[in-house]
Every structure is written in C-alpha cells, then in structure tokens.
C-alpha cells in the first residue's frame, strides 16, 4: 500500500488525476459534437473529488477520458489528461494498458452488468489480482482479505457464488473490491449507488468513506445526486454543458453556492419538511444544451435569471471567491432571483369522507416454475378524492405490483377486493366498464418506454382522448390543445415525435395522456426518477397543480422520500409485500414510526451532513419465496424485542384514527430513543 515506493521516491507526488483544458468530441453520424468544453480539474493524492451534473453534461465522458477509454467515436480534440503524473495521449497502447492495470480503477453504475454472470465471484476477484501481477495462490488469499475489507462478513462463502446470487449491494461491494485489487492511485466511481435502494446506498457510501481512510486512494466520485456527493467528498465540482461552472470544498459549495446553476440545483430539491401546501418548488427553466450545441458565451446563459448581454457573448473565466472556491460566473457576487413566486397554492380541497378507491385484502402470488412467490399480502387501504397517497419501500416491496393490480393489468389472488366509489371493480381490465377504465390511469416511470416512439404527439394524446372521452372530429383536437396547455407543452410540438422532445417534455406528454379521460385516480409510478433534478421540480409542480384543479387522487410511488413527503397527504410503507405503516405524511415522518420507516428515513443522504446518527440496517432484504416467520422485518430490525417477533406476525395496530403501524412495540416504545429499546430488547 505504499505508493511512494512505486514512484521511486520522486520529490512531490504528482496529482492522481489532472485534466488540463480537456476537450472531447463525439462523431455522431458524421458530425463532430463537442461534449467536454475545456475541462480543468485536479485531484490530489488521497483526495476525494465529487463531480455532479445532470444527464448529458459530460460526467461519464469525463470518467472514460480519465482512463483513456473513450468510445470509438470519441476524440480528444484539445487539452491533456494526466494520470499519476503521466500524459495519457503520449502513451503507447501497451503502456496505457499497464497504467490501467496498475494506477486507475473504475466502478460502474450497474454492478449486475459489470460482473461476469457466468463466473464465480472468487474467480473474478482473483483474476483482478492476477492482472495486477500477483500469483494465483496469493491472489486467493488477497481476495479473501479484500472482501473482508469491503465489509463482507463471510468472504469464502461469497466467493463460491455467482453474481446473480448476490444482492445489489453485495455485488457493488465485490466490484469495489475488484477495483481496489491493484491498489490504484485513482479510483473512479461512476454513479456507484444510483441503481441501489436507499438503505443499500447508505451502506455503500459508508463503505466508500471507510475505504478512503484504509487505502489512501484518490477518488473521483461522479453522481447526479448532490446529497450523495456531499456525504463522501472533500471537494466538489459542478459540471454543466461539458465544463465546470463551480468548484469548491463540499461544505462551502453547498452552504454558499455562487453559480446560478448550483443555486438552482439546490433549490430544486424539496427542502426537508416542505409540503405541497407551502407553495411550488423552484424549477430551472429551459433544458440542458444538447451535445454539440455551439455555445459562444456562458453555457448556462440561456437558462439563467442573471444573464445579460455579456454572458451571452463572452465565456466567463473562473472567479476566485476565496478558500479555493471558484465560480465561472460574471455575477457570482449577486443573489440569484427566484424563478417561481413562493405564493401558497390554492387549497380548495374539500375532502369528502367517501373513498374514491379502496382495496381490501389485496394479495398477489406469482407462480414461477411451481414456486409460490407472495409479492403482496393483504393490503388494505383507501383513497379519498383529491388526496395523494405516497407508497414507499425498497425494490421488491411490491409497489409496482400494487399499481398494476389496481389498474387491472395483473389479476390479484382470489378474495382480493378493489372498489371504486364503493362499487366492486372487476379484477381484470377486460371485465371493467369504460367508466372504470377511464377513472384509473397511470403515469409511468420512463416516458421513453411509455410513449410510442413511432407516433407523433398529436396521435398519442388524440387516441387516448378518442378512446377514453368519446370525443370525435374537431372536439379531439380542441381537447388535445386543452391538455397540452394544461401540461404546458407548446402546440407546435403536436406533430413532433417523442424522441424530438426532452425528457421533461416527454413526461409532460405522458401526463397529458393520463388525464385524457378525466381520471379519478392516477397512479404515478416513480414519475420523476428518470428525470434530472432541474426538470423534476417542474413536473412535481405540474402534478400538484393538476390535482388542485381537477380533484384527482394520486397513488404516488417513489423511492425518493423527500419527493414523497412534499407531495403526499398520507404515506404507506411497504416491506416484502406487507403494509408496515400507513398514516398522514407528517406523522409518518415525525414519528413515532415503524422501525423500518425509521431506518428508511435515516438512510436518506442529506446535503446537511450534520444530521443525527444514522440507523443502519443489517443484512439483506429476504427473498419473497421464503419470507421470515412472524414479523417479516425481524431479520433486519434494529428494535427487535425477542422471540415474539420471530413467532407472531404483529397486527396493524392503530395509534390514532388515521395512523397505523405493524409492530409488536407499543406507541410509547416506538416513540422512545432507539438505543434504549434495543438495549432493553437484548436484556429481555
């Protein structure tokens, strides 16, 4: 682990990574499109640098450029990349290969795809060591040690497994172990937690922090998530349109952002405790520059509230604000005006007591290859008009299955009951009347998949109107225009096809389609998780606005608890297909809450890093094929009281008229500090 020896004791160790005015172009169908426009950054020894930015701003290109591994159509058209003090452009292929083998490692977003599915984990890991010139026998021992250092409790057992037999979090640990095998000077992590659940993400982030101390490796951490970066990095750079717009120490930059883009990004996130009734979220207008766009002045000028003529003509240099805090903005000393007036929204929700939608005893068992796989068990809940019910839980908790059952896309188990306005609904879509079908619609997660890419927008929305509202002829176009206006998409996009629209615009079209038949309940299945942060806020505002105008109810599925809190009136927490807790949003967040809810809440990374000590969940989500006896959460519960949790499934007991929790602990015990209860549990 002594890198100084490797460098033959040269005087000052060079930076682990340095980009000097790096420009990268991609050749797309014969045209060169600039993706990086003069990127300057350096990462010192044992430093950790966070690079944040939205999709298309050049994050991944930066990562690939750092290892000299651009795609075939990528060209470095200016500047230099220095790794470990060596200029990549001057290296012969063999030397580059050697540099990659010894100095740099990379961890990708999707561990499931980074590992070879047909090779046991142990073999893959040993291979990584052998690649770093370590003999086979040694490699095995080193693998065991490395898995231990990435906090895998039982390395030998894990090494005997194939990647698909491990959970996502474990797979990512194995990837990190492989990346560390060559004891790299630089470790590049490209969105390493993006595909993971929030509890697993928290574990991986903890691990990365610990490894920084253990290994003294420099880290380039790339993410779209500001909070994640704030947690693991010392220094942060904000990338926009292929260039850094602001750079500074993590604390300083997030506390005192001095570039309008950074300010905008931070304002887009629903702040802790902010609710839809408090007013709309701040959104950044416009959309990201497309790769290859020719930009003369400041890359952000088009979307900036401070931009003047100078900004549009002259690219701003970096201004030093002090303490190494740099901002590429002429107006770095001015406050950024708010885009959206923070007036409270209309709150005309006169809630009727009669639920529009109710499910009773809703269960679903899948039967793949004779196995009984209960993915949803006896869910009971109701939704009143104009209400938003947030549905949260880790992947595999049954959120999407719930949505599909309600919509009739899947058939529930016998005995399940779904009622609309008190009348029972057919379980299959085919058995439902047109009115039933109209009443329940969905906004999907990914607009690219949800909109037929072969059809123009006019046809996508028009067809839905024709089928669901029964309109014909000129009325269809009138209604289409009305919906387009409601979702704020200009009429001129009617003849466009989905791929000609930006992600946010596509999601707006999908929303318009869902509202074509004046639905009573709209299921929102992670409607913003495929979108960038700056676009997310605008979509959430739109959903709130539509709800206020049309008294529609939402079932809002999301893994982002901040977003759920902002939007929801009530929240239901699912774990392994069981409803663990349901109650008003404020109460679910403020507590007393279910131990699982508590853990979920504390796992959310926050930009404010001074938060309370986090509750860590041990172990993995158990398999639905063989769910734990008693309370399904007992295997991971930090508040487990004893044998009763393993034997008996706790009832969903009401703690007041609207709030219910499935736990053996009493309300008072749940409200108490966690450590005390856990200690009491152990002594019992």
């Amino acid at each position: 682990m002594n890198r100084a020896a490797h460098l033959n004791g040269s005087a000052a160790a060079p930076d682990a990574l340095a980009f000097e005015g790096l420009q990268v172009d991609y050749r797309v169908r014969g045209r060169l499109r600039r993706v990086l426009r003069g990127l300057d950054l350096r990462i010192g020894r044992a430093a950790s640098y966070g690079l944040v930015g939205e999709s298309g701003c050049g994050k991944s290109t930066t990562a690939l450029a750092a290892v000299g591994y651009l795609p075939r159509n990528g060209v470095v058209s200016g500047g230099r990349v220095m790794v470990d003090g060596r200029d990549l452009s001057g290296l012969a292929p063999a030397e580059l290969q050697k540099l990659r083998a010894t100095s740099v490692s990379m961890v990708y977003q999707d561990p499931g795809r980074a590992l070879n599915p047909s090779m046991k984990v142990g073999r893959q890991l040993s291979e990584a060591f052998e690649f770093a010139r370590i003999g086979p026998r040694d490699a095995h021992d080193r693998s065991v040690a490395m898995l231990k250092s990435v906090r895998i409790a039982d390395p030998l057992r894990v090494m005997q497994r194939y990647p698909h037999q491990l959970s996502g979090g474990m797979q990512q640990r194995v990837c990190i172990a492989m990346a560390l095998a060559n004891n790299p000077a630089l470790l590049i992590l490209d969105e390493p937690t993006t595909g993971l659940d929030v509890t697993v993400e928290a574990e991986v982030l903890d691990l990365i922090q610990q490894l920084r101390e253990d290994f003294q490796t420099s880290i380039l951490f790339i993410s779209h998530n500001l909070a994640v970066v704030a947690k693991v990095c010392d220094r942060v750079g904000v990338l926009y349109g292929g260039a850094l717009v602001e750079e500074g120490s993590a604390g300083e930059l997030f506390r005192n952002p001095r570039h309008p883009y950074t300010v905008g990004l931070l304002r887009c996130l629903p702040e802790r405790g902010r609710r839809k009734g408090d007013g709309p979220l701040e959104a950044i207008r416009g959309s990201l520059p497309s790769p290859g766009a020719v930009i003369q002045g400041c890359v952000f000028a088009d979307r900036c509230g401070l931009a003047d003529e100078t900004c549009k003509e002259i690219p701003p240099p970096f201004f030093d604000i002090g303490h190494g805090h740099l901002s590429r903005c002429f107006h770095h000393d001015q406050p950024v005006p708010r885009e959206t007036p923070s007036t409270a929204m209309l709150r005309g929700n006169r809630r009727s007591a009669h639920p529009v939608l109710a499910v009773e005893n809703l269960s679903k068992t899948f039967n793949p290859k004779g196995l009984a796989l209960p993915v949803l068990r006896q869910i009971e809940l109701a939704l009143v008009p104009g209400e938003t019910l947030g549905l949260v839980g880790e992947s595999g908790s049954g959120k999407t299955t719930f949505a599909r059952l309600v919509l009739g896309l899947l058939e529930p188990d016998d005995g399940s009951k779904v009622t609309l306005d008190g009348k029972p609904l057919a379980t299959r879509l085919r058995g439902r009347t047109l009115d039933d079908v109209k009443a329940l619609q969905i906004i999907f997660q990914n607009p690219d998949s949800a909109l037929n890419r072969a059809h123009p927008i006019r046809r996508i929305i028009g067809r839905a109107i024709r089928r669901l509202s029964g309109a014909t002829g000129a009325a269809v176009l009138a209604k289409t225009q009305e919906l387009m206006e409601a979702v704020r998409v200009a009429d001129r996009y009617l003849s466009a096809r989905p791929r000609q629209l930006s992600g946010g615009m596509k999601q707006r079209v999908a929303i318009a389609r869902a509202f074509a038949g004046d639905p009573r309940v709209v299921v929102c299945d992670e409607p913003t998780s495929a979108l960038d942060v700056s676009v997310q806020a605008a979509i959430l505002n739109l959903l709130v606005d539509l709800q206020a105008r049309r008294q529609v109810s939402y079932i809002f599925i999301s893994h982002d608890l901040g977003v759920v809190r902002y939007l929801s009136d009530r929240i239901a927490v699912l774990y392994l297909g069981r409803l663990m807790e349901i109650g008003p949003a404020d109460q679910v967040f403020a507590g007393p809450h279910h131990p699982y809810t508590e853990a979920l809440l504390s796992a959310i990374p926050s930009i404010d890093t001074r938060g309370a000590e986090r509750i860590r969940l041990s172990g993995e989500v158990p398999s639905a094929v063989n769910p734990p006896s008693g309370c399904v959460f007992h295997t991971r519960c930090p508040r487990k009281i004893g044998a009763i949790c393993e034997r008996q499934e706790p009832p969903l007991h009401r703690i007041d008229a609207r709030h219910a929790i499935r736990c053996h602990l009493s309300v008072d015990q749940l409200a108490g500090p966690q450590t005390g209860v856990a200690a009491a549990g152990k002594s019992a």
């Binding site: 959104a283 896309l409 969905i442 949800a450 072969a454 059809h455 998409v489 000609q500 605008a538 606005d545």
Partner: protein, 292 residues
Amino acid sequence: MSVAEPTVPPTVASERASDTRDRLRQVFRSGTFLVGLVIVLFWVFCAIFGPAIVPYDPYADDLLNALMPPSAEHWFGTDQLGRDVFSRVIAGARDILTIAPLSTLISTVVGTALGLVMGYFRGIIDEGVSRVVDALLALPTVIVALLALVALGPSNATVVFTIGFTFAPIIARTVRASVLAERELDYVFAAQLRRENAFHIMFVEILPNVLPPILVEATVRLGYAIFAVASLSFIGFGIQPPSPDWGLSISANYGLIGAGYWWTVLFDGSAIATLVVAVNLVADGIQGALDE
C-alpha cells in the same frame, strides 16, 4: 400558479428533427451499401428494360452460329441453339427479379403477422405456432418446394408461393423476438389501459417499432430467395423454358463446360452471384446504419 413554460431552443428541435435525415445520409455514405445498391439497380434496370434494349432477340435461334465464343459481334458468345448469351443474361433478370421479390413480400407479410401474434399473445398460442414453425424450419426449403411443385405443377405462381411460405417461419421467428422485447414497454400497457383491442396494439402500436429489423430480415431473405429461385430453376422445378432465366440457362448448358464452352455458363452464374452478393451488401448497409 405560474410555472415557466418549458421551451426547447429552436436549434435543439431542428437538430433533433434532422435525425432521420442523418440516418439516411449515413446509409448512403456506407460504401458497401452504395456498391450493392448500384448493382441491384443495374439488374432492376435490365429486368424492366432489358428485352427492349438488348442487341439480339434472346429467344431467336441461329443454329449456324451455335456455340460461338465471345466476340465483337456476340460479346458473351452464343449458346448451343445459337442464341446470343449477352442478350439472354440481360433479359434473364426479369423472371427472377419478379419471382424472388414477390415471394419475399409474401414471406415478410405472413411472417410478420405470425411473429406479432406469437410475440404479443405468448402462452399457448406462441407455443402452438412455435412448434409448427420449428417443424417447418427443420425441413430443407428445397424439399418442401419440390413437394409443393410436384403437387401443384410447376408455374411461376407456385414458385412464388412455395418460397414465400417456406421463408415465412424464419421471418416469424425474428419478428417474434423483437415483439417480445417491445411488448414489455409501457406504451403497450398504456394502450391496454384505454381498452385497445389486440389487433390495434399489434399492428398500430407495436408494428411500426419493429419495422427496422423486419426490413433488414426481408432484405437478407431476398438474397436467399434469389438463390432459391435459381436453384429450383436449375433442377427444372422453377422457371420453365424458353425463359432466358439464369438458373435455367446454367442447367441447360452446364454439360458443355467440359467441352470448353465456358461462356454458356459463366455469365449466367456471375449474374446470380453479383445479384445475391449485392442484395446482401444492401442488407449489411441498412443493418449498419440501424445499429449506430
């Protein structure tokens, strides 16, 4: 509530709109595609105008000048009946370039319909049709074609339908695979959620999105169809005399190669080869542009 209207700068919109044009331009920039296209167009031209522009009547016997080697008068020489080989090769494009594309069209239409049904309904329907398709695929095309031709008698229409139906299962399998991936996309659920019937979902929603692989597959099949037509003609079950068809001419003259009359076979053979290769080059070019 006021939310700023999201706008895409016009430059971005127009840039994205030119995407299709870029793709087309890319196809035409591909060397393989262009070479293939030029050769195919040459033969199409011959098929349409050939009989009108050739120097000699391709059917006219001239026994006094039989088996003349290539010369200034007869560029490709003459065959054993004294017919001008050059004129016959040019005019011979017509039948094969009618029959092969027609049979490809039939196989594509039938195969696409079958593939959509298999991929969309899955389950029992897919199982049933798939087994039939597997069984058909297990039989060599030529054997099936022979049986059909014996039963129905040789005629151009029989050739079109036999090749059309024997190729359909292959296309059906390709389409099925694309449809299986496509039907998992949310827009299919969205269509179900406005109570569209299966026909609409298959042919209006899914079909336009699986057209590119179908186009590539059809082009590849066209190459095979040309070869199949030539083969059937060669063994006497395809195009019937006195057509100047290439396969037929080779069949009539291949016995003469041993005697040194190579020109009676070489040019027809080359015609088949260039056409098949050219069609495959076009298929490659399209595939390459779609992959990008």
